[in-house]
């Protein structure tokens, strides 16, 4: 089974749930502040305002991964803790959504100017069968030399997608197959907290305006 049993769109309802209830949001916030005293002492980032994406600041879930980069080094979110992380699931055989998303990420990085060096873009393949380390490396670095591809075996891929509430599935077509997958880009702040999900429909300018609030 390559498909995690997660309903597409579950993330949208999750978010609507937490933001639709201001009272509960405040409770969650104070809980988070109490649970993270060292962070609170450094001063908590302000709430995100008027984001174009999905604000996950108060979402009751976060996620991590343990996957390999093309050099075979095991990576997790802690490796990028002083960086803003944009994380996206995709596959290199995708002619449409994945290159568009990575090109947009490159535009966001450029748009951040000097702060661009604080941004780490991660591309997790949902097709490790075809996305070998060499293909992954060549693909992500074509968009930006700093973009990093990550992969796992079939089970790790399913588990990671599940952790991020990402849906994916293999779809046979003609003599080959293609992948369906969630096309959200997740954003972690410099403390390794999951803060945002950017929709595929958002322009680079809209993503940039959302991400600037986290720099």
């Amino acid at each position: 089974m390559m498909t995690p049993d997660i309903a597409p769109g579950s993330i949208a309802s999750l978010n609507a749930d937490s933001s639709a209830n201001p009272a509960r949001r405040r409770v969650l916030l104070s809980l988070a502040a109490a649970a993270a005293l060292p962070l609170a002492a450094c001063g908590r980032d302000g709430q995100l305002k008027n984001v174009h994406g999905i604000d996950l600041t108060d979402a009751k879930w976060s996620a991590d991964f343990s996957l390999k980069d093309p050099d075979g080094k095991t990576r997790s979110i802690a490796d990028f803790k002083d960086k803003l992380v944009m994380l996206f699931f995709g596959f290199t055989q995708c002619p449409d959504v994945c290159p568009t998303t990575l090109a947009r990420a490159a535009q966001v990085k450029a748009g951040l100017g000097a702060d661009g060096s604080k941004l780490q873009v991660l591309f997790i393949t949902v097709d490790p069968e075809r996305d070998t380390p060499d293909v992954l490396r060549a693909y992500t670095t074509a968009f930006d030399p700093g973009f990093l591809g990550l992969y796992g075996d079939a089970k790790q891929t399913v588990d990671t997608a599940k952790a991020f509430k990402v849906f994916f599935q293999k779809v046979p077509t003609g003599s080959s197959y293609t992948m369906e997958h969630t096309a959200l880009t997740y954003v972690f702040d410099t403390r390794g907290q999951l803060r945002l999900a950017l929709r595929h429909e958002q322009t680079a300018a809209e993503c940039l305006s959302d991400i600037r609030q986290l720099v």
Partner: protein, 167 residues
């Protein structure tokens, strides 16, 4: 404009003299504009082609072929609840006079099992097969330039015309 030739299928039809006038009067001329193919990295075995199609009469794009890949399919991409789905479609409808865009976020022509890497600046010859309302098929040869893998939108979006020619 690329040179025009008649397919053997079309020739056979034209030999039916009685039919030929009617058929050509009702024939759908399809304009192919701004075709391009996305570049690949070594080892990447699939890619897509994009373009704009405008038919003078109701027609549909029924298939495409190219020597660069083992299989070529007409695909539709859709986004529902933030999930990207992609599927092969049997035909792409071309209403008379309406420009139908094959662009990221919608339709594309998909290449599977590419024989070699597609590099920026290469040209990909491909053949599109159209069917008019009478069921008559004709094909168009298209020379599509390869654009960088990182291309977000067609560079000459809305600017050029006439890269393809009707056979």
């Amino acid at each position: 404009m690329t040179k025009t030739t008649l397919t053997s299928h079309a020739l056979k039809l034209l030999c039916l003299a009685a039919l030929s006038l009617v058929v050509s009067a009702a024939r759908a001329d399809v304009r192919v504009e701004d075709p391009w193919v996305r570049a690949t990295v070594p080892g990447q075995s699939a890619s897509g082609a994009f373009m704009r199609l405008t038919s003078s009469a109701p027609a549909k794009l029924v298939s495409a072929s190219a020597k660069i890949a083992d299989s070529v399919e007409v695909h539709e991409m859709s986004m529902t609840d933030n999930v990207m789905r992609m599927k092969q479609i049997p035909a792409l409808d071309l209403p008379a006079g309406k420009t139908v865009e094959l662009a990221p976020g919608g339709y594309h022509i998909m290449f599977f099992k590419l024989h070699s890497q597609l590099k920026d600046g290469d040209t990909v010859p491909m053949t599109l097969v159209f069917e008019d309302a009478q069921g008559k098929r004709s094909s168009v040869d298209v020379q599509a330039p390869v654009r960088p893998l990182t291309a977000a939108m067609p560079a000459g979006h809305g600017a050029h015309a006439g890269h393809g020619a009707h056979k």
